[in-house]
Amino acid sequence: MSRVSYPSLLKYLVVADFKSDINRYFLGFFWWLAEPLMYVAVFYIAFSHFRSDDEQYIYFLIVGVTTWRWLATSINLATNSIVTKKRIIGHFSINPAIFTLSSLVTQILKYLVILVFVCALLQLSGQLKFAGIQSLLFWIVCTLSCVLAFSLLVAFLVAYIPDLRVPISQALMLLMFISGVIFPIDGVSEELRAALQFNPFVHIIEGVRFVLMGESQGSLPVIELSAVFLLSLMLLVGIAIASSSLATDIPKRVLL
């Protein structure tokens, strides 16, 4: 068996992903920005009349929707990241998690471009109230561990049970409505708010709003994000432990 250099392979797969994205569409990477902003426009048109007294609502939506699109797209693409590479998995002795990781890195880089654009927009409108590098780094570590754990989990699950692709996609749509992306969760009933504390995406969305827009958007959910980080870490350890037997089984499953 050859010793594959995973960092080189990861870099190559990410570059290939970008090239394919640019070549696939007439307007190429313009869509990285246009797609999430179109989502913002749709939600603003549909829901702004419920929040007519909130002048910051558009910025609330921009930060929430662009971040949510990144999270949801990353997890959605992760569901297919292993099964679509079955030709490679059937030909080379390789850890299939590399394909999930490359898909995730591609989405992170796209989100960074969007984030710079969002920051510029907030700055121009006087809404950028950066909460500091410490808060940003804390949010990044918690969010990345969560999205990585979820992505690997769904990628391996779908490799075993392909039927799960549809329910996962539907669950993500439901999560969007209960993660404070469109409305702040303060507005919901006490019972529902207590239940939503168990949804990690609520804290991720609240966290990014605080990091970019400061105290006008509440406070940084430190305890909740720490819990998200710890649970994600436990999930990642579980996946790592299971990965030796998963690596044995996955080629058989995807080659069926």
Binding site: S8, K19, R87
Partner: protein, 229 residues
């Protein structure tokens, strides 16, 4: 010198994708085989007897359910199948880089070998086209060329040379003979008796996941032909 030792190996696949099915289909059962450095070993048998699965286990792509496969430490093996492991929407050149990395080469080494790989595959300007537009013969030529230039110790070829044209088959046979002289080992799955006679030192006949016969190509292939008739 022994480079691969297969000892009591068994392999089965799930019989269906259904979550409620526990049934398994055995493809290899208690198989024993030793591969010695510098040999060309042919593998023959009916469709579905486990030839491809055996190659994939030797390559480390599939892990056996039981038994052990010992490989010489640091053994560089390359598997070439009829359906190459190429990414269809990438060009031939991009797939050379990707395959090279998957075979353990670094980018610089792939770059150094790029011209040789393209020249050997002899697919002209199509190297800049997406692999999705390639015929199976073109894919095999390119896959064989990359594998050849990755300097493997062990080539595992699954029917891949059968789909090339006459000139390419002649060229690949010659390359295999040269590689044997240079101490490379090849295990070739093929239904082409004459091809196996021409390039192999020994042939293994597999039926129902077991080794039926193993030995000199002419003797084993004659017996296989008689059984098939």
């Amino acid at each position: 010198m022994k480079i691969v030792s297969i000892d009591g190996v068994s392999l089965s696949y799930p019989a269906s994708r259904s979550l409620f099915s526990r049934r398994k289909k055995a493809v290899i059962q208690d198989l024993n085989l030793n591969i010695v450095s510098g040999e060309n070993v042919g593998i023959i048998g009916r469709n579905g007897v486990g030839k491809t699965s055996l190659l994939k286990m030797i390559a480390g792509i599939l892990k056996p359910d039981a038994g052990t496969i010992w490989r010489k430490p640091e053994l560089r093996s390359t598997f070439i199948g009829v359906n190459s492991g190429f990414v269809p929407f990438m060009t031939g050149k991009e797939n050379i880089y990707l395959t090279g990395l998957l075979l353990g080469m670094n980018e610089q080494r792939v770059g150094d070998k790029l011209t040789e790989i393209i020249d050997y595959a002899d697919i002209g300007n199509a190297i800049n086209d997406q692999v999705a537009s390639y015929s199976s013969g073109m894919q095999s030529r390119l896959a064989f060329s990359i594998s050849l230039h990755s300097d493997p110790d062990l080539l595992l070829i699954d029917e891949a040379l059968g789909v090339g044209d006459r000139d390419f088959r002649k060229k690949s046979s010659e390359s295999l003979r040269t590689m044997i002289r240079e101490d490379t080992t090849a295990i070739i799955v093929s239904h082409e008796v004459e091809f196996l006679k021409r390039v192999c030192n020994q042939v293994v006949w597999i039926e129902d996941g077991h080794v039926v016969r193993q030995g000199a190509p002419s003797a084993v292939l004659e017996e296989y032909d008689m059984a098939a008739a």
